[in-house]
Symmetry: C2
Subunit: 336 residues, 2 copies
């Protein structure tokens, strides 16, 4: 069978959900993305599946130079900047993963990159961003303060602001994960996605709802950082005063309205999970699947642990979206 | 260009080195190996390469259900057992990785598996072996005592003994890593391989010496477990009383004569590295390449750290052969 990614978009389109995303652009995005971020490992995990009572498929987005999936989106962003007449400088706010990804993709295409991060961001990630040649500016506060600063310094138009999840390239780049899963497996009953700003959830969700509408799209958020999840339930923006979770990769407080609109069109179920379930998921992924993952990558397993009957006997895929953890923290999390 | 792996062996053969291995069988081995162990990620690592003064290519063999490269060999072993008239039971001695691999491959093909391990083996690996459906027998002592016990219980011929590195399938399966690297990169100046029993080193070494003879094949062993390295230098078997290294995956004491013969034909250089260099290598792989690796997977970087001028400015590939570490140990190793 010809892979989905090589077929013309017209022949694939069932009914696309009503989002800002476009299947044709997602298919084209594949060609912008370096091989190091594409065609990532995807495999059945029988030992862990047996424990969880389902057939568990792992999609592993950590086996690349930056240890996370965000390269898919930044490759599309940087390719567009490189061939368009506008600024050749890009700025993003990032707790670490987007910053690493943009630094990597920018470096490869001659795009200057500045990353704004909260002063409390993971030091190993910040160090790696600098080594990839990007400038880093640390600001007081959390990721939301960093986003504000990034908007400020790009307001004059001399640099391009990469606003994660609002920028369509970040969503459509992430969507290519869905194409690969559907190329590799003839049936997936549920796809479990970490939900932060929404690029992963809306990108992969859009692909599944278009090409495999029977698959349940489950977007999982920590109960300690529930702004987008609560917004999905309320069908309008809910912000929170604090984000209190070990899953720093998904710890936003101010959902973006356009992204919420996309999420409403593709998500079937948005559970909010406890910190203890995230830890249990991380431990199981380590013990039974030989994977070191960052907390946000365990959200899918956490959701199965909290609601096992929903997935019993089904083929459930989850995206392991990042592996960037500090060793001391990881070791402490593994005790228990 | 047609990938190496799809071209007939006759058209590829330059002069094969004088080993027990055969390029034609290595090309065929690819077809026996499940997709979960094949076509693994391989990528330039600019941040780490800059620190090491070379162009570093990572071949990542950890992104699969067992976290190591050994599935390539056991897939070939189990396929052969499944289609041959002999016993449908396989036994191996293993510190953990071969055991997990054989358990995985046996399970998929209806082959019963028993793994013999030393009582001090990594508990997480033993647990995973059991969950993959294999029986585990723990014996007093180290891997060499386990090897003895495995030979004992297979002496009557009712079960097939998989003697790692002596068994050609384990070497030729590992050799497929070399085919993929040579498909992906037009030039590799040096390939750095962990040297334990010798399956990885002779398998990948045979492929490089046949298809890319100008590539320097560097096989790296810890100075604390130097039996095969010393044997290579002496050109005859040297055994040691103890193996004293954190790199448990390569801690053998009794080299196999036939494997030494193969190694003599393919290895250009066999450095013995200090424990401190292995630790430094693990730290760099974590900090600058976002990888959690087991000590044996850091041997290549350790060799560059101890002899940087040898590799200066060259394109150097190393195989990250396993990621199975206990979190507490990993955390302790990262301090420093």
């Amino acid at each position: 069978m010809q892979p989905l990614s090589e077929r013309p978009a017209e022949r694939l389109k069932a009914i696309e959900p009503d989002t800002r995303l476009d299947l044709g652009r997602i298919l084209k995005a594949r060609q912008e993305i370096s091989r190091v971020f594409r065609d990532t490992p995807q495999f059945d995990c029988p030992a862990l599946g047996a424990l969880l009572g389902c057939e568990l498929v792992i999609k592993l987005e950590t086996a690349n130079p930056i240890g996370c999936f965000k390269g898919r989106g930044t490759e599309v962003v940087a390719s567009r900047l490189a061939r368009s007449p506008g600024p050749k400088v890009a700025v993003c706010a990032s707790a670490g993963n987007l910053g690493q990804a943009l630094a990597y993709s920018g470096r490869a295409r001659g795009i200057g990159v500045t990353v704004i991060a909260g002063a409390s961001a993971n030091a190993a990630k910040i160090d790696r961003i600098r080594r990839l040649g990007a400038a880093v500016e640390l600001v007081e506060g959390d990721i939301e303060n960093a986003r504000e600063r990034a908007r400020e310094i790009t307001a004059d138009g001399d640099a391009f602001l990469v606003e994660d999840s609002e920028n369509l390239d970040t969503c459509e780049g992430a969507g290519t994960i869905g194409l690969e899963l559907l190329d590799g497996f003839d049936r997936i009953d549920a796809i479990l996605l970490a939900l932060g700003g929404g690029a992963l959830a809306t990108g992969v969700g859009h692909v599944f709802k278009t090409l495999s509408p029977a698959t349940e799209v489950v977007c999982v958020q920590p109960i300690g950082a529930p702004a987008m999840g609560l917004s999905w339930r309320a069908r309008s923006i809910v912000t929170t005063d604090r984000a209190d979770t070990i899953a720093d990769g998904v710890a936003g407080r101010f959902p973006i309205p356009a992204v919420l609109g996309d999420l409403l069109a593709v998500a079937d179920h948005v559970p909010l999970v406890e910190e203890e379930s995230i830890l249990a998921g991380m431990r199981m992924l380590h013990r039974h699947a030989a994977l070191v993952v960052e907390p946000s990558a365990a959200l899918g397993v956490a959701a199965i642990l909290e609601d096992p009957l929903r997935y019993r006997g089904k083929r459930v895929a989850t995206v392991i979206c990042g592996s960037n953890v500090m060793p001391e923290a990881f070791s402490a999390w593994m005790q228990g």
